[in-house]
Symmetry: C2
DNA sequence: GCTCCGATTGTAACCGGTTACATCAAGCGC
DNA sequence: GCGCTTGATGTAACCGGTTACAATCGGAGC
């Protein structure tokens, strides 16, 4: 009723107030060992009275469990990471864990510093290192880690990835089935492994079907709307414009759409357009955008599940796991 | 070169290996107190050799500083929270802090449990509790906290908010200046304080200019695209449809746009449309969407700055701070 | 030569919990 | 009545760092 206004009280003070030992307080609060009902009652009253809250940091030190996991991402910007974090957080909460999130780590050295800072603060790690240079990351031995995205399962750590190639292949086959042969591709950032997998998956599918990808129909983008705009404008300038465009993510597809409309080109009658990611607004564009749906939150959730499995000893199952990507056909690629 | 493969080594083992005391190790690693160059050299070599990484948890216990702050959000879904987290993370990183994020806390009791679990794990908190029932949250005494959004500065904790009312007013005046008088409003979720502030700000501005908001032009939404669609369809059905629509967030405006186009109504010539948030794609819609730009990341950054100020003793300044919201006019509200 | 001082380093208490082990009393079987 | 088991609780070591205070040592000052 009148909690000490001072900073915080320790278990020993509670013990003194309840006229028992610290061990008893600890046991009552953790439901361990036999405790006399009267004692438990008294302890709980004192605890409530003093407004005592155990110091998790101290508890972690002696139990060697922090109940939290570190999440290291290349960035925390945009729809994708938002969903990813949501999935991870969801999985964490279900298991009573907390997540320590850190983003914007372009530099491997920075990631390294972060890993050190996290030592003793987390029980395990979920690391997404999309950039190529990620190979340099040194995971301290003995720490359970789950990788997201590209890095091959280094050091036997499990990894999860999105089926970028499969999704891209589905788009390619869909466009080919519609009769398209002059298909442009807007690639993502060079150092991004998702971007690369999508590009390669798409090209491979074209080739498999006997359609040679044309160099002049490959435009470099950076996954942002503006680069999609620029790409579309460049493609529209060609003497023989493509009949279809595959943007390797939705943001670029959106920029694309905006530019095509400006140019007076109609989608899909003049040019068909497909994206990747199936962001929530894809279906609300006009025309609604054909895209590839990836269960991003599920990716996060699975990652956390894998990590927790590792933490609790029950180990591996398959070392690599792939989250499926499903084609979602909408009006932007309606038949020719 | 051959770090022990075992889990982890302690400072005492390092001390033994370097033939010095633990105090010396600590001093070398933290740059405290005078250390003989030779000693420092030797210690650093041993540390590198053994791959020793200090246990942050233990350090926190004795220094009583965790270098991390808790971030409690009602949800972590969507563009808004993504940006917010980015801003917070950015501010945190600049100051060498980590962030413990937790979302999806609809229930105040849950938040309460979380606060307890975070005790001793974080130095301070950033709490966003948009839901009405948030008043029940009991912040433990002595913990620096910064609130985001609605809650009045309880217990003298500083709070930051977005200038929802101001932004909404700007939209209203813009539409009025364009000559619109029959203006529909798509409200956000009832229990959301941002939604309410936008709604009220808008209505107040209309009234101030002598335009009475009509009940039949007020549609309930939930901040999601689909509710925007539904609202637009309902409004289009009216005998006298509005000449302009203010959607209290962009997601709903996007749904709206999609429905209007489907209905064959042209924006802005048939109906003008404005949103709120200025999400990245707003400018790529067709027509580009008039919206209200909120520096969300800045909100997060400021919140962290305020919290850090509180942590370092240099206290208050104004207790409440408002992040401005600026009208961004685009084609969706071009002149009549 | 002796005292004093600063540089350097060690010792041990402490942060706030958990828990192995010890203690003590009561109940039980014989 | 005695040894043993079981229940309830206390004692103190330990988790892995930090740091106040003490100790040691070489040179400066007198």
């Amino acid at each position: 009723m009148d909690p000490k206004s001072s900073s915080s009280i320790s278990i020993r003070e509670v013990a003194a107030a309840a006229r028992v030992s610290v061990a008893t307080i600890s046991r009552v609060l953790n439901g361990k060992g036999p405790i006399h009902p009267d004692t438990r009652q008294r302890v709980l009253e004192v605890v409530a009275d003093l407004g005592y809250v155990p110091h998790s940091g101290a508890r972690s030190l002696s139990t060697r469990r922090t109940s939290s996991v570190g999440v290291i991402l290349p960035d925390v910007y945009g729809e994708f990471f938002s969903e990813l974090i949501r999935g991870i957080d969801q999985g964490a909460k279900r298991a009573g864990y907390h997540i320590l999130v850190s983003g914007s780590h372009s530099d491997p050295a920075e990631v390294d510093a972060l890993l050190r800072a996290l030592h003793g603060r987390v029980d395990g790690l979920i690391v997404m290192a999309s950039m190529r240079n990620a190979g340099a990351i040194r995971i301290p031995p003995g720490v359970p880690v789950v990788f997201l995205g590209d890095p091959p399962s280094r050091g036997g750590h499990p990894s999860l990835r999105i089926d970028n190639a499969g999704g891209a292949r589905a788009v390619a086959e869909h466009l080919l089935d519609l009769g398209h042969r002059r298909i442009a591709i807007i690639a993502g950032p060079a150092e991004n492994s998702d971007a690369e997998a999508r590009l390669e998956g798409f090209r491979a599918a074209l080739i498999r079907r006997g359609v040679e990808p044309l160099p002049e129909l490959l435009v470099q983008g950076d996954f942002r709307e503006e680069s999609g705009r620029a790409a579309a404008l460049a493609l529209a300038e060609l003497e023989t414009p493509p009949t279809a465009i595959f943007a390797t993510n939705d943001a670029m597809a959106i920029g694309c759409l905006s530019a095509l409309r400006e140019r007076g080109l109609s989608v899909p009658s003049d040019i068909a357009l497909a994206g990747f990611d199936d962001v929530p607004i894809a279906r609300y564009l006009s025309p609604p955008l054909t895209s590839v749906r990836v269960a991003i939150a599920e990716l996060g959730d699975r990652a956390m599940a894998r990590l927790l499995a590792g933490l609790e000893g029950r180990g591996a199952e398959p070392l690599e796991e792939t989250i499926p990507a499903a084609l979602v056909v909408r009006a932007s690629t309606a038949g020719l």
